[in-house]
């Protein structure tokens, strides 16, 4: 601080400072002095010295703090306040943009998957809840098309089983699945079509139409990756009034095969 700036303080201001310290300045004068005190370093230094002297006379202990302390506090408070004002909208926009992006990218996929799942679940329920008078699932035909296939029951196969091989969905069939709403409209797999259905007839009285529906349903779900039945398992239906002993025999036989 230069002596020039010190001398620039006139007696009137200094006297006002002294009276202001004692709370003896009028409101208008006080406001004026406080504004000046904010910017006038010489006045700030004088105020500090007068405070120290006052504390000494009162017997109060003091520790001289630099004049920069007040400025540092003001800057810290301004910094604390400014990010809230300036960055809040930025954060809001960034968050909104991210959400919008996520919505555009992910939601259609999720919706499609959910729709397919819903369709499959609905079909599953529809198939399972088919009246016994027409047909019931007595069992799955457990003849495996692959050597490593395992025997399983129909109930177990309606849920995704850990031993179930992950069905591979080829793009063309996936498109077909996406466009088909009912197993009745689902085009039967060509390779499967060549085989006689059911490949292992268990009941002569079974309804071919229902069996064909179930086979389409099974293939549709298998291609969707959300299959309820094991994809490589043939599905047969039979009249609910006639328990089929042949199936039990076949199941036992297949179980024996896998041993």
């Amino acid at each position: 601080m230069s002596m020039k700036s010190m001398n620039a303080l006139d007696d009137k201001i200094c006297e006002q400072l002294s009276a202001w310290m004692d709370g003896e300045l009028s409101r208008e004068e006080a406001m004026f002095l406080e504004r000046r005190l904010q910017h006038d370093e010489a006045l700030q230094a004088m105020y500090s010295r007068m405070q120290i002297a006052s504390s000494c006379m009162k017997g109060q202990s003091t520790r001289f703090m630099p004049n920069t302390l007040c400025n540092n506090i003001r800057l810290a408070l301004e910094e604390e306040a400014s990010p809230k004002k300036s960055r809040r909208p930025l954060f809001a926009w960034a968050a909104a943009a991210s959400l919008a992006f996520a919505a555009v990218v992910f939601i259609p996929g999720i919706m499609q998957s959910t729709t397919k799942q819903d369709i499959n679940l609905a079909n599953n329920r529809e198939a399972i809840s088919t009246p016994a008078s027409s047909a019931t699932f007595a069992s799955a035909d457990l003849i495996a098309n692959t050597p490593d296939a395992v025997s399983t029951s129909l109930v177990a196969s309606t849920s995704t089983s850990p031993v179930q091989p992950t069905p591979k969905v080829n793009p063309s069939s996936a498109e077909t699945v996406a466009g088909v709403m009912s197993p009745e409209d689902f085009p039967l797999n060509v390779s499967s079509e060549k085989k006689a259905w059911p490949r292992s007839p268990v009941n002569a009285n079974s309804d071919p139409a229902l069996e064909a529906y179930l086979v389409r349903h099974n293939q549709m779900m298998a291609q969707d990756g959300m299959g309820g039945f094991v994809p490589y398992v043939d599905v047969v239906a039979q009249d609910g009034g006639q328990p089929d002993k042949t199936i039990d025999a076949k199941t036992s036989e297949n179980a024996g095969d896998t041993k």
Partner: protein
Amino acid sequence: MGENELDLELVKRVQSGDKTAFDVLVRKYQHRIGAVIGRFVHDYAESQDIAQETFIRAYRALNNFRGDAQFYTWLYRIAVNTAKNHLVSMKRRPPTSDVDADDAEHFDGAYRMHDSDTPEHELLREEIARTVSEVVAELPEELRQAITLREMEGLSYEEISETMDCPIGTVRSRIFRAREAIDLRLRPLMDSERVRP
């Protein structure tokens, strides 16, 4: 207007959004708060950081200040807590006993309350106190009486004018001239680099 009323008015101004008023409060109490913190933290730079944190905390909490207690007492508590928290965060043990703000102003004997500072600062403090005493003793009678009634007895200008049987303006002028005389002698001491570690 007494000191408490003055502070309360400044607080109200801060509460209504006048940041200049908070600067005034900082300037008014920074040295006394510095002394309070100095009783917990010896390092000068560290005590400045804690003083800054104290005032920032006070600013944040100022809307809750209703004026039931004196502003300085309230500020004192914040300073003590901030200093203690600082010591805990630095894994240093804060003092277990505490002293009220009013007592702390004059409590200098106990070890815990002793302001441990660098020898240089301790010397400077002693030099300042000695200089102030010398100047007051050398002042003309009317100036010495006016400044003594104000600083040591805490009388208002009106009360001093009645005691000294002179106009308030004269009291104001006498007090200022006494302070100016002290300031002239303190200036070389406090402008020196010794007060800036």
